[in-house]
């Protein structure tokens, strides 16, 4: 569906996208994972023909986006990170406008608009203006505007930012539904759980470079020996982190919201040492569990930093 070859984007001396090569296959949900500023949105903007490509090429459904952008864009539906809708037009008018831009007319346009509204669960609010919508409803309308013309490729740039759990679930379910209906989806996020739950394949991007690409299992296999010890604690002092990090076998340790996370190649062996240090420092332990590597630890292992850095 998409071939990305040697893609480079520079801003002055900075390289935002550094020689990325990717193949995204028809019918898959492809995740682009990376922290803020990793180059995900820049990559997506080049895929969508919204940003000049400095070097390399993007072939969308056999069409070079630089050589024939209008033809390529007919196959594309972009859900931008920002809620890019017109606040003073109703939900229906917004979708109709974007439907017309994609070339839909007459009864087909009406059918598709109703279908898009139905799909995102906004049929009952079709004649209301988005100003009155909740954040989740606006996000759903943002998605509907990209679906109205049944694009072969749907590009979603962090579509769940800043919304409640219910709307997030609705959106993630919708994405899976779209995929089952035959759409290829590129999904970017820095929410690891989302990417993990819906994507068939995942590319990890950091500092504009493609760090790794594959299925969840393939990525986990890259760091298969790593495990994570999760300790729920009270009265933890950040100074103790340094003590934990120098234990032999500990690759990294972090503390966030009362949860201490320790990445190691052998959890069984070092668990005793960890508990000893914590009890020595009078840290109250509420629970302890050991988990296999997830994408977060894969990311940490490959890039040396957390997704939330």
């Amino acid at each position: 569906m998409i071939k990305i070859r040697n893609l480079i984007k520079r801003y002055g001396q900075n390289i935002a996208v550094d020689n990325i090569n990717l193949d995204i296959y028809k019918g898959e949900i492809f995740g682009l994972l990376g922290p803020n500023g990793a180059g995900k949105s820049t990559t997506i903007n080049m895929i969508c023909g919204l940003l000049k490509i400095d070097q390399g090429e993007v072939i969308l459904d056999g069409i070079n986006i630089q050589e024939n952008p209008l033809e390529a864009k007919k196959r594309l539906g972009l859900v931008p990170q920002e809620i890019a809708i017109f606040d003073t037009l109703t939900a229906k008018e917004n979708i109709t406008f974007f439907g017309k831009l994609s070339g839909l007319r007459g009864n087909l346009l009406k059918e598709r608009v109703d279908e898009a509204l139905e799909f995102v669960g906004l049929s009952h609010s079709s004649n209301e203006i988005p100003k009155k919508f909740s954040g989740g409803m606006k996000r759903r309308l943002n998605i509907a505007c990209a679906l109205v013309h049944h694009p072969k490729l749907i590009v979603m740039d962090e579509p769940t930012v800043g919304i409640d759990a219910q709307s997030r679930k609705h959106i993630l379910d919708s994405i899976c539904k779209l995929n089952k209906m035959g759409s290829t989806i590129i999904y970017t996020s820095h929410y690891i759980e989302e990417v993990q739950s819906i994507c068939n394949r995942i590319a990890i991007i950091d500092h504009g470079r493609l760090v790794a690409c594959g299925t969840k299992n393939e990525l986990k296999n890259l760091v298969s020996k790593e495990e994570k010890i999760i300790v729920e604690v009270i009265d933890f002092n950040y100074n103790f982190l340094e003590e934990l990090k120098i234990i032999t076998g500990v690759k990294d340790a972090d503390f966030h919201n009362g949860i201490l996370g320790i990445i190691t190649s052998n959890a069984q062996n070092i668990l005793q040492d960890v508990l000893f240090i914590l009890s020595n420092n009078n840290v109250v332990i509420k629970s302890v569990k050991m988990i296999e590597p997830d994408l977060e630890s894969v990311f940490l292992s490959l890039t040396g930093r957390s997704l939330r850095d």
């Binding site: 940003l51 209008l70 931008p80 017109f86 003073t88 017309k100 070339g103 505007c145």
Partner: protein, 391 residues
């Protein structure tokens, strides 16, 4: 087709915003009403001399006595009221301060004139009103010069033809019948552009230009809002060319401006009796040029600013300053600086059309406006293309 989609979307957004719509249409009319009323006295100075009373005594019962009386009644009817009186009573009436001036034609008048003797029409003045005195003196002088020249010509003619039967009046009559009064004509040339227009005509024109220039703020603000809200980016993720988007924006904004112009012109005519003349085609051309210039300003300012509020503030200051310098608010342009304003050339053009001039008469104004529009659009398009609006 994409251009029309953009146009209709923009029109829909404006129509839905009732407050903006009301401001667009009502504000200009309010401004014309306020400023037109406030500065009405500047345009309607009463420069006529009020009709006054004079005393008149005609002791001459001959041909020229009657002739002078007719001249006095006919030519002087708009200047003064003639009160006939006996010569003896004149002194007393003037001393009583009831009258300031009197004209006395002596009883030897006709005889003297017919014989080309020197004679005098007496002007008796109280000295209290120099204006009335000057008016009557000038009036009598005009008469005496005409009569004296006529008598002189008639006398020479009589000597050359040796026709002793000819009388002066017959010669004067024959000459006038044959040649009329066409040898020397006077023509008044109106050099002041604002002469002979009403305050409402002035401010309707001035405000029409002002509000059309501000219409570019709508376009510029929209361009920035689309950029900031990322709707610009989203629109261009669909198969639409950048120029289609820009042209659609310009047409949408221009359409609203034309509606605004028609509204201003119709309401100014209806409420303030403003005459716009017969050159509607020319007026439309200038309106289109102003809208074109205003749109270019909007595009330029949108490339320089990152928020529509900043753009609105900057453009408001710029247009107010230009209107002020051109005298659009105060009726008094600021020296030669007015020539560097768009308002001056547009205003002069419209006023000349209102006064009945043709498009050819305002070719300088049109040329300058076209040059300004072209320069601004070249700058606008360059800046617009240079700004990487998706990023």
């Amino acid at each position: 087709m994409n251009i029309l989609n953009i146009v209709f979307k923009d029109l829909k957004i404006i129509i839905k915003n009732k407050m903006v719509l009301i401001l667009l249409l009502v504000m200009p009319v309010l401004m014309i009403a306020l400023m037109g009323y406030a500065l009405k006295p500047v345009f309607e100075i009463e420069d006529k001399i009020e009709k006054f009373e004079i005393l008149y005594s005609n002791e001459d019962r001959g041909e020229l006595g009657k002739n002078f009386y007719n001249y006095l009644k006919n030519e002087g009817k708009d200047l003064f009221n003639v009160n006939s009186i006996n010569t003896e009573k004149i002194e007393g009436k003037i001393s009583d301060e009831k009258y300031n001036i009197a004209i006395v034609v002596l009883n030897t008048h006709t005889q003297y004139e017919a014989n080309v003797e020197n004679t005098t029409i007496k002007i008796i003045s109280s000295g209290r009103n120099p204006v009335e005195e000057a008016v009557v003196t000038s009036f009598i002088k005009t008469y005496t010069q005409a009569v004296n020249r006529g008598i002189g010509l008639a006398k020479i003619h009589q000597e050359n033809t040796e026709d002793s039967e000819l009388i002066i009046n017959t010669i004067l009559h024959d000459t006038q019948t044959k040649y009329g009064m066409t040898f020397v004509k006077s023509q008044q040339i109106d050099k002041g552009i604002t002469n002979n227009i009403t305050s409402y005509q002035f401010f309707a024109t001035s405000m029409l230009i002002f509000f059309l220039l501000t219409s570019g703020m709508g376009l510029g603000g929209d361009l920035i809002d689309d950029r900031e809200n990322k709707t610009f980016k989203r629109i261009h993720s669909f198969p639409i060319k950048q120029r289609e988007y820009l042209i659609g924006k310009i047409i949408g904004n221009g359409f609203i401006s034309i509606i605004q112009a028609i509204f201003i012109m119709l309401f100014a005519r209806w409420l303030f009796k403003v005459e716009w003349g017969n050159q509607m085609g020319g007026l439309f051309l200038i309106v289109i040029l102003i809208i074109f210039i205003s749109s270019a300003l909007g595009v330029i300012f949108s490339s320089l600013f990152n928020s529509s509020k900043a753009l609105t503030s900057a453009m408001t200051v710029f247009i107010w300053l230009m209107t002020f310098v051109s005298g659009g608010f105060t009726v008094s342009p600021i020296g030669i600086f007015e020539k560097f304003t768009i308002n001056k050339w547009a205003f002069d053009g419209i006023i000349r059309l209102i006064k009945g001039n043709s498009l050819i008469d305002i070719w300088v104004n049109l040329t300058i406006l076209i040059i300004i529009a072209t320069i601004l659009w070249v700058i606008g398009v360059t800046l617009y293309n240079r700004r990487k609006t998706y990023e």
